[in-house]
Structure formats: C-alpha cells, structure tokens
C-alpha cells in the first residue's frame, strides 16, 4: 500500500490532512447549500407552478416576474455571478472570503436551477388527479401539500439528485474565492504545481460523491414509487 502511494501518487500521502479538510469543506458547502437552496427552490418552483396560466392559483403578474428572474439567474455563468454579488455576500455573512461566504453565491446559483427542475417535475403530476382533488373540495394549499408534493415526490427526488450533482460541480469553482474544498485543492496544489496525482485523487473523491448521491437518489425514488 505504502509502496503503491509512493510510486503512483507521490504527492498525495503527505497531504492527507489537507485532503480530509477539503473533503469536509466540500461536503459542508454542498450540505448547507442543498438545505437552503432546497427549501427556497421548492418554494419558488411551487409558486411558478401554481401561478402559471393553467395553475391552480393562476397569476400572470407574479408568474412573469419570477419566471424572468429565474431565467436571468440561470443564464449568468457562476464564476461571474460570484463576483457580481460579492457585496451582497459580505452583507449576508460579514465576509466575502471563505467556505461560509461561498455558500451565498452557491445558494443564489443553485436555487433558480432547482426551482425550474421542481416546476418541471410537478407539471408532470397528472392534471386529472389535481382536478379530482379540486372536485373533492380540497383547498389550493391542500392540493400543493397533499397532491403535488406527494404525487410528485419521485420527480422532486430526481430533481434534487441532479441539482446536487450540479452543485458539487459549482463548489469546485467556489474555491476561486477562497471557498476551499476539493476543487480548490485540485487547482492550487495539483494544477498550479503540476502534481497531477493530486488532481486525480481530488477528482476521484468528487466522482465518489456524485455516484453516492445518485445512488441514494435512485434508491429513494424506488422507495416512493408504487
């Protein structure tokens, strides 16, 4: 084992501590962002869904504003967006540098993406079932919580799984503003110093995270589908 590391990955073993810290930083950014963006995204996605013209609370005014907002924020490249909202970030967390500061742009970058995914997933809920619920005298909130979020659960999990994979990708870029994490490690230690083995191992850890989240997603989807 030791020999394997020495031969093929000579620069990895000495940076063991840094690898562990970076992995935790990535997990921290992904976890906290997923939580915040998850709640905001579901909220935004549901509002888009119900205010659309065939929605249960159709409201063209609100719909068009939110729809434009989501489109614009989805179109801005993440690395530029981080720079653009830097004063907002400072206002929210007191600093614009570091792992916690990276969470602000990550949430801003992830929420519109997730909201759109949620909207698309919930549109797939059989309109007949919505109609049946309305015919039974279910209130709009009842329809959102008892029908859309329940019948659309598999779609929501699928959307979450895609979004998390996307988010893991974004955390690598967050390294650029001192966010730390595996992306930063791969660039700062691997790429800049030509230590390709470091880049390789960082990539493998990221891939492992992606596969695990996809695996869990699929498992949950299977569990909620009948």
């Amino acid at each position: 084992m030791q020999q394997f590391f020495d031969t093929y990955l000579p620069h990895v073993a000495p940076l063991k501590e840094e690898f562990i810290t970076s992995t935790w930083q990535t997990l921290y950014m992904v976890g906290v962002t997923a939580l915040i963006a998850g709640i905001l995204g579901i909220l935004l996605g549901v509002i888009l869904l119900v205010t659309d013209k065939n929605g249960i609370m159709a409201n063209p005014f609100i719909f068009h504003i939110l729809d434009k907002f989501v489109n614009i924020f989805r179109s801005i490249p993440f690395i530029i967006m981080m720079a653009m909202i830097v004063s907002f970030t400072r206002w929210v967390v007191g600093t614009s540098i570091g792992t916690t500061a990276a969470i602000v742009p990550l949430v801003v970058g992830t929420t519109p993406f997730f909201a759109r995914q949620i909207q698309n997933a919930l549109v797939e809920v059989d309109p007949g079932v919505i109609e049946a619920a309305q015919a039974m005298g279910t209130s709009p909130l009842g329809i959102i919580f008892r029908v859309y979020l329940k019948e659309g659960l598999a779609g929501i999990i699928r959307a979450a799984s895609i979004t998390i994979v996307n988010l893991i990708g974004l955390t690598a870029m967050a390294g650029a503003i001192g966010g730390g994490g595996l992306g930063n490690l791969a660039i700062a230690r691997g790429y800049n110093r030509f230590f390709n083995d470091i880049t390789l191992v960082a990539t493998l850890i990221i891939l492992a995270m992606v596969f695990i989240s996809q695996f869990i997603g699929n498992l949950l989807i299977k569990k909620v589908s009948h």
Binding site: A132, G137, T138, K150, V224
Partner: protein, 347 residues
C-alpha cells in the same frame, strides 16, 4: 336538485373563440340518473364540469340543491363540492396512496374522529366490493377496480349528487356493466342523483331514466328515455339509438346480403318501432288479412327500458301500392312508428 340556466361556455385561445356549450338549460330531479350523450367534442365534459364549477360558465346560472353556486365564497364552494361527488374516465386516483388512503383523502377536515373515518372507509370499500384491497396501491388494481375505488372516494362525504364523466369509457363491456350496476344500486340505495356523461347510448339504455343529447355545444333533444328511444326527433339522436339497438349493424348485414333475404325491387323497406305490449305477430297477421300486405321480418329486437318494452323491427312490406298506404295509416293509428329506410336497395 340540479338546475342549469342559460349556460354558455366560451373558450378564448389566441384570437380564436370556441363556444363549447351554448344556451343549455337542464334540470335534474332528485333520484334521476340523467344521461348526457354526444359525440366527441360536443361539449359534454365542459357542461358537466360547470355543475361543480370546475368550469365556471361564461354566462348562465348553476344551482345545486337550490343553492346558487356562483354566489358562494371559495371556501363555501369547497364545502359544497364535498357534497358533489365526481368520477372520471381515467379514475384519477393518487398513485402514492393506498386504496384506503385514497378513499380517506376527501375526509380530511371532516368532523369525524379518526376511528370513525376508518370505519367510514371500511364501509365504503365494502359497498363497492373491495374490502380485501384496502392496503393495495392503485397500480395493483384493474381498471374496473380502480373505478370502484374512485366511486368509494366520491361517496366519502355522503354526497347528494354524483357526476360521472365517461366513467366506463376505459373499461371492457363486462366491467362496464358491473360498474353501471353498482351505480344503479347506489342510486336506489342512497337515493343518489347521478349525472352521467357518455358517448355510448348503450350505457344510457342500461341505467338512465332521462337523457339529453348534445351536438356542437347545444342540447338538441332531452327527456324521458322511453320517449327518446321510441320517438327520437333529431338525426343525431336517431343515429345514437340505431347504434345502441344494433339496428345499424343489422341493416348493414341485410343490405350486404340482399339475395339471401330476398328484397324485391318493389318491396318497401322500413324500420318499425313499437312501444309497450304491442307484439309483432298479430300485427303481421292483421296486415295480411286486412290489407293483403305481406310483412317479412328481417331483423328484430326488444329492449326493456324503465320496465317498458320497446320493439325495433326491420321489415319489408310487399303488396299493392294503395293497400300499402292503408296499412301504413293503420300502423300510425296504432301508434306504431314506421321509418322508411331510404338506402338504395337495388344496387
């Protein structure tokens, strides 16, 4: 029980407007099983959806149990909808809930205790004959079973009215009959008023006491089903009835085997419809002895609608022209409808 007054529904899409329902007046009495038939696109679904305001009419008034639904607040309307059950062509059950949970869905917020709700659901599943499926999921049931669950769910809040939009259109003929039988039982046992939409007159014949025929958004004919079946006025209605009573089919067979059934060029081919106890045999004998008209019955059937037999025969009359005229006058006097079949029988 249900009053629709001057209902119009207009959809505007881009610059195009579609008048889906035009000037419809309909009144459904308590205990009626009211059929609404029409071809696809006639406006049936749109019309029935105005009854619980899933589709608010563009103009016109809707009353259910004397209440003007359009004057209710959204929450009052929701309470009222709980008293108007509805079932659909594609059942519209929730796939993520068990059968028991599906039936319990509309009971949320009702005054019943948890145990009472459970009891209620159990009773409803028993009523529709699915007690053993309460823990299953919809995907594990057949179409007929799913519709039974949908019926149980629609009855959860003890509605006065049940709206059925093509409830049997996705089912095979035998399952259709069993669902219709269940609806009829519910109509009698619970004195449930039923409005039933279909494109099959066969279904109407099975359980309705009244029927309205729709074409291009209008009701072209409505009334008691015995009247409609024995004296259909409009071409659409005749068309539907000929299909339902298999007259069309019989006629096609006859016309494609003319040599076998011996229709002469001078013969008068007609459909005869008679009501009640009149039977064909003395009639045939009478036409011969009195008017020297030979009647040849090519096809016939008898339907029992609302305990009234309605006979439909396809016959040829042969004899002298003036005798034939007298015979037809005699039949008219006897309230027997004779509809000449004008399809060219010589080629």
């Amino acid at each position: 029980m249900i009053e629709l007054k001057d209902i119009n529904v207009t959809f505007t899409q881009k610059k195009q407007t579609i008048d889906a329902v035009k000037e419809v007046n309909l009144s459904v009495d308590k205990g009626d099983v009211y059929g609404i038939v029409g071809f696809s696109g006639a406006g049936k679904s749109t019309l029935v959806r105005t009854i619980n305001l899933l589709q608010p009419p563009t103009t016109g008034e809707v009353f259910v149990g004397k209440k003007p639904l359009q004057l209710l607040s959204p929450s009052e309307l929701r309470e009222e909808r709980k008293k108007i059950g509805m079932i659909f062509q594609h059942f519209n059950l929730m796939n993520t809930l068990t059968i028991h949970e599906n039936v319990a869905f509309p009971l949320k917020g009702s005054a019943l205790s948890k145990a009472e709700k459970k009891q209620k659901v159990t009773e409803l599943l028993e009523l529709v004959g699915l007690s053993d499926k309460s823990k299953a999921y919809p995907s594990q049931l057949s179409g007929g079973q799913k519709q039974r669950v949908a019926i149980a769910r629609a009855l959860a809040n003890d509605p006065k009215v049940l709206l059925c939009d093509e409830a049997t259109s996705a089912l095979d003929p035998q399952t259709t009959l069993s669902i219709l039988k269940l609806l009829k039982e519910l109509n009698q046992k619970l004195s449930l008023t039923i409005v039933l939409i279909t494109h099959e007159m066969q279904v109407v014949k099975e359980i309705c006491n009244k029927v309205a025929v729709m074409e291009n958004g209008r009701i072209v004919e409505k009334g008691n089903i015995v009247d409609i079946f024995s004296k259909p006025q409009s071409p659409v209605t005749q068309n539907f009835i000929n299909t339902a009573t298999h007259i069309d089919q019989a006629l096609e067979t006859i016309l494609s085997h003319k040599s076998v059934v011996h229709i002469g060029p001078q013969d008068f081919l007609a459909k005869i419809t008679y009501l009640g106890d009149t039977t064909s045999e003395p009639l045939v004998a009478h036409l011969y002895s009195q008017f020297h008209i030979t009647t040849n019955i090519l096809s016939g059937n008898i339907e029992i609608l609302q305990d009234t037999p309605i006979g439909n025969l396809i016959v040829t009359f042969s004899g002298e022209q003036e005798n034939l005229a007298q015979a037809l006058a005699y039949l008219e006097e006897k309230q027997i409808q004779v509809t000449p079949i004008t399809k060219d029988i010589t080629n």
